[in-house]
């Protein structure tokens, strides 16, 4: 069986490129052809940087041909949520009000991806300013879920996730201050990680909230996420909040196939009440798989988690109202109605409101710190519901479990764990202590080795009319 290179994982594509069985130029052409065919419907890109991407692909091809040193991301097509600066390319954060914002230098993320040889395909559509989950963007188009185009891709990194799912990129850098990498990853049958706060530099990244903004990888597999994180993580003197913790080799935890010695916590009823039955069944089955892989599964109590939605909204939106005060003052009429209303209401919060929310946050941080003395990771659904239909009024029910890791600053990973009866993806959420990304990679990778949810591709990806650019790739889902 042959598959389009656009449907390969990063790891599979890298192996084929290294073995000279796949040309990086052919890979890029396959991805660009997929964009041309599907993006008019999916609306995943705001700006394409095809020329720059093709130049990187050609550089990668020369490196392979001449035997020059090149890494696993060399020539790999990756996209960026449109919050990440790329010199000479607008950073809109999904808002027409920022269409003229053209940075004159690369963000640290782009510098590091470029140094790794990544072919950056373009900037992805998102919910305006990151302030929502539907990606029904009034300025750049309604982004659609490739698994069912009548449903939302999630958000706010919905363009990034939909693009990767449909083969319009092999990976992406998303942004997450509450759910925005993990929930779209779950809604598109992908892996997505929000790393520890401070692990990835925010220099040259649009600021929404100072205390919760993070960027993170979205890809088809946990192993691909590890490859991307390896390239961008680490201290950056240009970001005052950047961690100086040494970055471990994330590939090492992927070596083992079982989970012996790990204790995984299953928290209180809050995470399993008012949850869609298909989600509940899939997550419970996944917990059984983790146990079968050798993990010890135990109950854990984090009762304050139920306040994460309230505290997260007050803190996040008050910080947004401050960071975007000038935008609201000078360009209110250019903002979408939902985002404008949210910023207006958040602007009326008192300082004491914000501080009360921070106190509630500290209760959560304390409970999770206590939990980490007992367990190595905590498992929950990523979202209480599968991807809702476009037009549904959703915000909190899709993000109420993911917000917690943003409040505690801890890393979290979403992994595909099943489908509803009408073929909508479901995600499993894993959270771990600060800087324990390796634990999440180990658990997520072992789970993917034992299951095949991540090998499925959305129906829209299966209709390439031309065989041009196809590769003899025996296993698309590796």
């Amino acid at each position: 069986m042959t598959v389009s290179p656009a449907d390969l994982t990063i790891g599979a594509a890298a192996d084929l490129i290294a073995a000279k069985q796949l040309s990086p130029i052919d890979l890029m052409e396959a991805v660009l052809a997929r964009i041309e065919r599907l993006d008019p419907v999916l609306k995943t890109y705001i700006t394409l940087t095809a020329e720059r991407a093709m130049a990187a692909a050609k550089t990668a091809e020369r490196a392979v041909a001449t035997g020059s040193a090149h890494g696993p991301l060399s020539g790999i097509p990756i996209g960026l949520k449109d919050v990440v600066d790329m010199a000479g390319v607008p950073t809109t954060a999904g808002s027409a009000a920022l269409a003229g914002n053209v940075p004159d230098r690369d963000s640290t993320i782009v510098s590091r991806l470029s140094a790794a040889g990544v072919a950056i395909v373009g900037k992805h559509n998102m919910h305006e300013l990151g302030l929502g989950v539907t990606n029904a963007n009034p300025h750049f188009g309604v982004c659609r879920n490739p698994w069912n185009t009548h449903h939302i891709p999630g958000g706010s990194s919905g363009g990034s996730a939909a693009a990767v799912a449909a083969g319009l990129a092999l990976g992406a850098i998303g942004g997450d201050s509450g759910a925005s990498v993990r929930m779209p990853a779950a809604f598109n049958n992908l892996a997505g990680m929000k790393p520890t706060q401070g692990l990835i530099s925010r220099a040259g990244v649009f600021t929404g909230t100072w205390t919760m903004d993070s960027t993170g990888p979205i890809a088809r597999t946990v192993a691909d996420c590890a490859l991307i994180l390896q390239a961008v993580a680490g201290h950056d003197p240009a970001d005052a909040a950047s961690s100086s913790q040494p970055v471990p080799d994330y590939w090492v935890p992927l070596g083992g196939e079982d989970l012996a010695g790990l204790t995984i916590g299953v928290p209180d009823d809050y995470f399993f009440q008012d949850v869609h039955l298909s989600v509940l069944a899939a997550v419970n089955a996944a917990i059984g798989t983790l146990e079968a892989l050798g993990a010890q599964v135990v109950g854990v109590s984090v009762p304050s988690a139920r306040y994460a939605v309230d505290a997260g909204a007050v803190i996040s939106w008050a910080e947004y109202a401050t960071s975007q005060a000038a935008l609201l003052r000078d360009h209110a009429d250019s903002l979408g109605n939902d985002v404008r209303a949210l910023l207006e209401v958040a602007s009326t919060h008192l300082a004491t409101d914000y501080i009360a929310a921070q106190q509630a946050r500290m209760v959560m941080i304390r409970e999770y710190r206590a939990a980490w003395k007992i367990v190595d990771a905590i498992v929950t659904p990523t979202s209480a519901v599968p991807p809702p239909p476009i037009g549904a009024d959703v915000m909190f029910e899709v993000a109420k479990f993911t917000r917690i890791a943003s409040l505690t600053g801890e890393p979290a990973l979403s992994v595909p764990c099943g489908f509803t009866s009408d073929a909508l993806p479901i995600g499993l959420h894993l959270q771990a202590p600060r800087f324990a990304e390796g634990v999440l990679f180990r658990v997520g990778h072992a789970y993917q080795e034992a299951t095949d949810w991540h090998r499925r591709r959305p129906p829209v990806a299966n209709t390439d009319s031309s065989r041009r650019g196809r590769a003899a790739a025996p296993e698309a889902g590796r």
């Binding site: 201290h235 209401v345 602007s347 009326t348 106190q359």
Partner: protein, 74 residues
């Protein structure tokens, strides 16, 4: 019924006036009708704050703890 409708209208006007005053205090230009549109969102925000205050009152932890990783504070 007429009295009930009047009370409801008065309540809505009061709520809109409160929102308008809060917007004005925040320095946000609020064209006519804008405050009325925001009443429901404003009330939802108040409920979220109330929930946070209840948690905070039950367990009065400091709002901010310096979290150090490599010398940075956040």
């Amino acid at each position: 019924m007429a009295e009930g409708r009047t009370a409801a209208a008065d309540g809505a006007a009061d709520a809109a006036a409160q929102v308008a005053a809060a917007l004005q205090h925040a320095g946000i230009p609020a064209p006519a009708g804008r405050a009325e549109q925001l009443v429901a969102a404003f009330e939802a925000a108040r409920q979220r704050v109330t929930a946070c205050r209840e948690v905070a009152a039950a367990d009065a932890l400091p709002a901010f703890v310096v979290q150090t990783h490599g010398g940075s504070t956040r």
